[in-house]
């Protein structure tokens, strides 16, 4: 084990830090949110540094990077509060497709993705099913050499920005995963803003015809791919939360050193010093926990992998809440306004628990996979 970055990792992290400082400022992020759609230039600038191809296997034009590098990259993206579809597309969809056996789809999409020219997302959640990946109302029927999809997916992360969707559906009583182009006949979408300044969508499939070769996987293999994609997504989400916590703690300390009340900087008050200490403790524990998840991603035993990822999700979500809430509290009235970036970081940290399975879901999953 070696905790120091390799030369390549150091260069990548440094370049990303610079990119974030220059192009993901508070004002720039807000302007992109307002436009309500993906800023292609921003996406290109991430791609140029290798973000889009990071997890794409080398055979398909990517870098085939390790979970450790993924962690380092997402920590930087979290510091910059990137809300472009990196986790949804470059981590989750790419991992799912990259580990599948459908070489035709891999050849078609992965190379494009590595070049920053394709955005994909997974549509797996359904209304009233909480975080379950297996309860599916969306279903597929075989009809000669194609499938016909009917159903509805909710909370599809960056659904409106994606060219193609990986859709889970019930086929012959088991889970199947299909690649569906967003422009396909019968696909309709309601796009909405999310509280962190991102976008998600509810997508309906009404008799959508899908060619037979667009089936990515079915049965146990489909479930395993879906779980693997989630586990990678969760680890990236936690790494981003760690980066966001780090930045938020720095900003908060800076604020308390500057803001004066009772004739002295707020940072002089012991009660507030302890709160800053608490933030640092949480941040360090969360990062260490995320290392555990990244280590777990290499596990060949998928149950053990999922267990490590779930425990990380639970702990990092708790840390993210403490750090976010404390940062707001220590900023006082200014912390609850929409006028400082502390609020944006707090909101982003809040979704660490809500997305990709909440604390209750992951506590249960730890129990289930251990059994």
């Amino acid at each position: 084990m070696d905790f120091s970055y390799s030369q390549e990792q150091r260069m990548l992290a440094d370049s990303l830090r610079r990119l974030m400082t220059e192009n993901w400022t508070f004002a720039q992020r807000r302007a992109r949110q307002k436009s309500q759609r993906l800023d292609q230039q921003a996406w290109q600038s991430l791609s140029e540094l290798g973000v889009a191809g990071l997890m794409v296997p080398e055979a398909f034009g990517g870098f085939g990077e390790t979970p450790a590098t993924m962690l380092a990259v997402h920590q930087e993206l979290g510091r910059g509060l990137v809300s472009e579809p990196v986790i949804a597309s470059a981590v989750m969809a790419v991992t799912l497709l990259g580990k599948s056996a459908n070489d035709g789809l891999k050849a078609k999409w992965l190379d494009l993705h590595a070049q920053g020219e394709a955005i994909l997302t997974i549509a797996w959640q359904e209304s009233g099913e909480r975080y379950s990946i297996r309860s599916l109302c969306t279903h597929a029927m075989r009809s000669e050499d194609e499938y016909v999809l009917d159903g509805r997916k909710t909370l599809v992360w960056h659904g409106a920005a994606a060219q193609a969707l990986i859709v889970s559906a019930l086929l012959d009583g088991e889970m199947a995963l299909f690649m569906v182009e967003r422009s396909a006949h019968g696909v309709s979408m309601t796009d909405y803003p999310t509280f962190d300044g991102g976008r998600a969508a509810t997508i309906s499939f009404d008799g959508v015809a899908v060619q037979g070769d667009q089936l990515i996987a079915k049965g146990r293999e489909a479930e395993e791919l879906m779980t693997l994609a989630l586990d990678f997504g969760i680890t990236a989400l936690c790494a981003q939360a760690c980066g966001a916590m780090e930045y938020l703690t720095e900003t908060t300390i800076q604020y308390l050193k500057t803001r004066k009340q009772f004739g002295q900087p707020l940072a002089n008050f012991q009660a507030l010093q302890h709160r800053m200490g608490d933030m640092l403790i949480q941040q360090e524990m969360a990062l260490s926990m995320t290392y555990v998840a990244a280590m777990g991603l290499a596990e060949t035993n998928s149950a053990e992998r999922s267990r490590l990822v779930s425990m990380t999700k639970v702990e990092v979500a708790a840390a993210a809440r403490i750090v976010g809430e404390t940062a707001v509290q220590l900023h006082g009235g200014m912390g609850v306004t929409d006028e400082l970036e502390v609020g944006d970081y707090f909101k982003r940290l809040t979704f660490t628990d809500l997305l990709l399975g909440d604390t209750n879901y992951h506590l249960q999953r730890m129990q289930d996979v251990a059994a």
């Binding site: 009340q261 009660a271 809430e325 929409d338 809040t350 209750n360």
Partner: protein
């Protein structure tokens, strides 16, 4: 000690409950339970319904047009109206400047202002915090100079809740710049409808704009609008904050939000079952219910103990009340789950179309969580409250 409700108290509870059921307009009730934003007219409508019944000032003595209720009755009233889905009573007149005028005001001030508060004919706002004076309120810089028979006021106030609706502001101003911090402060009543008053909304985390910055440039107020004595404003300010802190426990709010939390858990589906059957969710709901009950009893004890003026124990109420309100909002968000992630501030208005992914009843859960962060900051941060406990109760 007798820990039972008397038949009179129970009868009073039923009377209030029935009154709310019969007289609260249905659209207001719906807005409350859907967490939709109230408009100015909505508040006025409810205030006037209560005023007509003679309940417009539940916490005031009869001589001022109040109900003359006991502290217990007031509390029952607060809980029952909140639980029934009524809008909150606007506190700036009823709980803040009203009691201050009763104690420190002139006869003319009482005669003119108090009746107009009961009907919400006058909407008040609180001119306390300034950009450089938050927790350290006594460092405030807004200046008032006496020119002839008028105060001329210059300065800037902030976090002024609902100032955009207000006719008047009770304002802390510095009247003696040479005196030590607390000693040169006075309280002056300012008419907001005059040139030189500029109100700018501050957008908060949930996308709403209930608080404002207020600029005062050569704003005038007759010297008769001084409350109490010149340069004695700090004592009055503290008296008012003590009053604010009992109300700030938000007990009625807690009871209502607990009911909403339970209802959300019942109506949210996790596959074929209601989420309220999930043991992890149930544990959390049961625990927060216990805390609300403890808060209620604490409030009763504090109210009974300090019949005239709420003592420093009000700080305990403020701290726990705000924390419980925050936890309730967080639990609501967690119950709604990932469906609380989509959010458009427009969804908070009854008139706007909702197009989110979940049933509309759960649309505002994350906004509530973000908004409730203010409760441990306003009315004196919880850190300041702990300082008060240390100083005045523990004596260190």
């Amino acid at each position: 000690m007798d820990l039972t409700w008397t038949p009179d108290e129970l009868a009073f509870r039923d009377e209030v409950r029935n009154f709310v059921q019969m007289n609260l307009p249905a659209d207001l009730r719906e807005k409350t339970f859907a967490h939709q934003r109230m408009k100015r007219e909505d508040y006025v409508r409810w205030h006037q319904i209560l005023a007509k019944k003679g309940w417009g000032a539940p916490t005031w003595a009869k001589e001022y047009g109040g109900t003359g209720w006991s502290t217990l009755q007031r509390l029952i009233f607060e809980i029952e109206t909140f639980k029934g889905g009524a809008p909150r009573l606007i506190p700036f007149g009823l709980s803040m400047i009203g009691p201050v005028l009763m104690k420190f005001g002139t006869k003319a001030q009482k005669d003119y202002y108090l009746p107009r508060i009961i009907t919400l004919e006058d909407w008040w706002c609180q001119g306390y915090s300034e950009p450089g004076s938050g927790s350290d309120l006594a460092s405030l810089k807004t200046r008032a100079e006496i020119v002839g028979d008028e105060f001329v006021i210059n300065g800037q106030k902030t976090w002024t809740t609902l100032a955009h609706h207000a006719h008047h502001m009770f304002c802390l101003v510095r009247t003696d710049p040479d005196a030590k911090a607390q000693r040169g402060i006075s309280m002056v009543l300012i008419d907001m409808r005059q040139p030189g008053v500029t109100v700018r909304p501050i957008k908060t985390l949930d996308g709403s704009a209930e608080v404002n910055e207020v600029w005062l440039e050569n704003v005038k107020a007759p010297v008769a609008n001084l409350v109490g004595e010149l340069n004695a404003g700090w004592t009055i300010a503290k008296y008012l904050l003590g009053h604010e802190r009992t109300g700030i426990a938000g007990l009625g709010h807690c009871h209502r939000e607990l009911a909403i939390l339970k209802s959300l858990a019942e109506r949210t589906m996790a596959g074929s079952e209601s989420l309220s059957l999930d043991i992890r969710v149930r544990d959390n709901i049961n625990r927060i219910e216990a805390q609300v009950r403890a808060l209620e009893m604490l409030l009763l004890r504090v109210a009974a103990d300090s019949s005239a003026e709420p003592g420093p124990k009000a700080s305990i109420l403020k701290i726990r009340g705000s924390e419980i309100q925050q936890d309730l909002a967080r639990l609501q968000m967690q119950v709604v789950g990932a469906d609380s992630w989509p959010y458009d501030p427009e969804w908070m208005f009854a008139e706007s179309a909702y197009y989110g992914p979940s049933p509309a009843f759960s649309a505002a859960a994350s906004a509530g969580y973000f908004d409730m962060r203010k409760t441990s900051i306003y009315g004196g941060t919880n850190e300041v409250q702990k300082g008060i406990i240390a100083k005045h109760i523990i004596g260190v």
